[in-house]
């Protein structure tokens, strides 16, 4: 608790210790001069003025959205893909806490942090898209549209954000050295995990269920009464894959923090994850066909949309699924990583297919995002990465804090 007593004099020590990675300010600033930061700064230089335009001149000034296409890139990518890719948090938390798969322990914290930041920036993205973002709390406190799937999504994302924050709190308290509070929040772990899984099940599927109300707008190959189950299953696949992708990137970017890890063991864990991911993806693949059979949509396969559908389902579901199986079979973490990136691309493709590429397929014209929409999306992703890096560099995310050994 030494660092929590900070009379004026120790403030600067605290700042240096906690925020500046133990370096004097000048030296710390010097470490920031990296190519990555230069690119990030450039992106922010473009993104922030656009943010200003968006909130002072409106959605029309920044996007190509219109009355036929009320949802675009910000919903299709920032929200739908963001939530699906952030599913790793609940997957890992339940693997470790509920199924006691200890070998995933080291992956859990980064997954929860990604989950938390993922959702946080989903909400940020949503604020760009909403006409009156300051009314975001309305469905919680002012007026309840209980017949709406969106109502469910709103509540659950809000609650889940809180749950993930709680789940991540131990890391924050370890960073701050607040032992006792940390001890309290740890007691909530199991409850939070169970609650998190329930919330995730419901809102991951609810994001798909949103489109149940657009049977004439979503293309028949993608519209299905199974869409909630499809979204949920694919979110698990996306979550697991993101965990692999993340571990891959972490080992490149933060290798100093993970140097204590035995690379072979890490590879072993990746292969273990591949096995689960392969099974989940295969289930998803089967569900895709069951959905098609259930609605009897076979004839659509022989259209150009059908070809595109096959690209998604064969090329980006079955493909990575087989890759995962191979990875597990031949014990190759390298193949597992390829499969993971492949899966992530496939899930992104699916969400964009449902919400943008095939949406309004009967309309004579298509929506194409404006460059400013892309710029905002890129800015949000960059902000997410920067925040992630900031926290990982300071808090015990990728390593176990020496003073706080693993306990159950």
């Amino acid at each position: 608790m030494s660092t929590t007593l900070h009379p004026d004099a120790s403030w600067s020590a605290w700042t240096r210790d906690k925020l500046l990675l133990g370096l004097p300010l000048r030296e710390y600033l010097r470490t920031l001069k990296t190519p990555f930061n230069a690119v990030a700064a450039l992106i922010l230089c473009v993104g922030l003025p656009i943010t200003w335009i968006r909130f002072t001149q409106g959605i029309a000034a920044t996007t190509n959205l219109n009355n036929d296409y009320p949802w675009g890139l910000w919903i299709g990518f920032d929200v739908l893909c963001g939530v699906a890719l952030a599913a790793g948090g609940f997957c890992m938390a339940s693997a470790v806490h509920l199924f006691k798969l200890k070998q995933y322990y080291t992956l859990m914290r980064p997954a929860i942090l990604t989950g938390f930041l993922g959702y946080f920036f989903v909400v940020v993205g949503l604020c760009f898209d909403l006409g009156r973002p300051w009314r975001l709390p309305y469905p919680m406190f002012v007026s309840y549209g209980v017949t709406s799937v969106m109502f469910l999504v709103g509540w659950h994302v809000a609650l889940y954000l809180t749950v993930q924050f709680l789940e991540f709190c131990p890391a924050i308290f370890e960073w701050l050295g607040w032992k006792r509070v940390r001890h309290w929040v740890l007691k909530l772990t199991i409850g939070a995990t169970v609650f998190g899984v329930i919330l995730s099940t419901l809102h991951q599927s609810a994001l798909g269920a949103l489109f149940l109300l657009a049977p004439t707008k979503v293309h028949p190959l993608w519209y299905s009464s199974f869409i909630p189950v499809l979204f949920f299953t694919s979110a698990i696949a996306a979550g697991l894959s993101m965990v692999i992708v993340e571990s891959m990137l972490s080992h490149r970017v933060f290798h100093r923090q993970v140097q204590h890890e035995d690379p072979q063991q890490v590879d072993q864990v990746m292969v273990g994850l591949s096995r689960s991911a392969a099974v989940v993806l295969f289930t998803y693949f089967c569900l895709k066909w069951i959905a098609l059979a259930h609605e009897d949509r076979w004839a659509w396969l022989f259209t150009s949309y059908g070809a595109w559908y096959l690209v998604e389902v064969i090329g980006f579901v079955l493909g990575p699924c087989i890759a995962y199986f191979v990875a597990a079979k031949v014990n190759s973490a390298r193949i597992a990583r390829v499969a993971a990136v492949w899966t992530v691309l496939g899930i992104v493709l699916n969400r964009l297919n449902v919400s943008i590429f095939t949406f309004n397929w009967q309309m004579p014209y298509r929506y194409v995002p404006s460059w400013m929409e892309f710029a905002v999306t890129i800015t949000i992703v960059t902000a997410g990465l920067l925040t992630f890096r900031f926290m990982v560099n300071r808090m015990p995310v990728l390593y176990v804090h020496p003073e706080y050994p693993v306990e159950e």
Partner: protein, 303 residues
């Protein structure tokens, strides 16, 4: 009213709840039995494309000050227009070979069970007691899910307003109705192509017209069953599919589409905790040593 009561009884019998039918029926049906819902019937065989309804609508909703003469401009018909933030109704022209064109006035259909209302997470859209589907700007957060949901593509959004963007659509002049007046467009139409009245009466009128003049109309009242039925209905000399009306929306009320999903929510809420806690208890009892070999080299400090 006869039609509705018969339909209602049929539904009640089918579910075996005749005795408690009044309470068990969907609220929309119950309301329909209670009081006559107002509606509109547009007879497309009578519309001459004068666009006076557009003028009256824009005036009534304070959307435009343009003089009546400006609506004589026929060049607007070169394109098919849709409803927009500053026009709640539009008249489009559909040319036919060797025959006079058909003019189609479009606006919100005022669905009996509106998709927009079932989509809205803050209940900003509501089916009013009078029949029109109305919007409360003070609640709307601007998510535009209502626009995604509307099968007729009618609501529009004020994209260019940064601070107070609203969803806009026809309200069937609800204020005028409450003052005992008719909707502005119905009042102004010189050809009496738009008839205002209780929905059931309009439905009877529509079917009578079709029966009396089978040569003048296709045998279809658009809005009788579309998306579960709408309060605004149409009869037409040509198939509705040729006039830009969506014909693939089915007869199921839209709220039904998400009902199955929403009713599975309590199931997940009760079953999941049980299963998950069960899994936890089971795995916990097995002891940490058995459940997956601990692999971390840096865990040695652990208990």
């Amino acid at each position: 009213m006869a039609v509705s009561r018969r339909g209602f009884l049929k539904a009640a019998c089918a579910t075996g709840v005749v005795g408690v039918g009044a309470t068990a029926a969907r609220p929309a049906e119950a309301a329909q039995v209670k009081r006559p819902w107002m509606g509109m019937l547009t007879d497309l065989s009578l519309c001459v494309g004068c666009r006076k309804c557009e003028y009256a609508c824009n005036k009534a909703n304070a959307l435009s000050d343009d003089a009546l003469e400006t609506y004589d401009d026929k060049s607007v018909f070169e394109q098919t227009r849709r409803t927009d933030a500053d026009r709640f109704t539009v008249v489009n022209r559909f040319d036919r070979e060797g025959q006079p064109p058909v003019f189609v006035k479009r606006q919100c259909m005022h669905c009996i069970e509106p998709a927009c209302a079932s989509a809205c997470l803050v209940a900003a859209f509501k089916k009013s007691d009078e029949g029109p589907v109305i919007y409360d700007e003070s609640l709307c957060i601007g998510c535009r899910y209502c626009m995604v949901a509307c099968p007729f593509g009618m609501p529009a959004f004020e994209y260019s307003k940064p601070f107070t963007p609203r969803v806009t659509k026809c309200s069937m002049c609800i204020e005028r109705l409450r003052d005992g007046e008719q909707p502005a467009c119905a009042c102004v139409c010189p050809e009496e192509a738009i008839t205002f009245g209780p929905r059931e009466e309009l439905l009877t009128l529509a079917h009578d017209k079709i029966r009396e003049h089978p040569d003048r109309y296709v045998d279809h009242v658009y809005g009788e069953t579309e998306a579960g039925g709408t309060n605004w209905m149409y009869i037409s000399p040509v198939p509705f599919g040729d006039l830009g009306f969506p014909t693939d929306i089915g007869t199921k009320p839209y709220p039904e589409l998400t009902k199955g999903f929403l009713s599975s929510v309590p199931l997940v809420l009760t079953l999941w905790p049980m299963l998950l806690m069960g899994a936890y208890a089971f795995n916990n009892a097995r002891g940490p040593e058995l459940a997956g070999a601990p692999v971390n080299t840096h865990e040695e400090g652990g208990q």
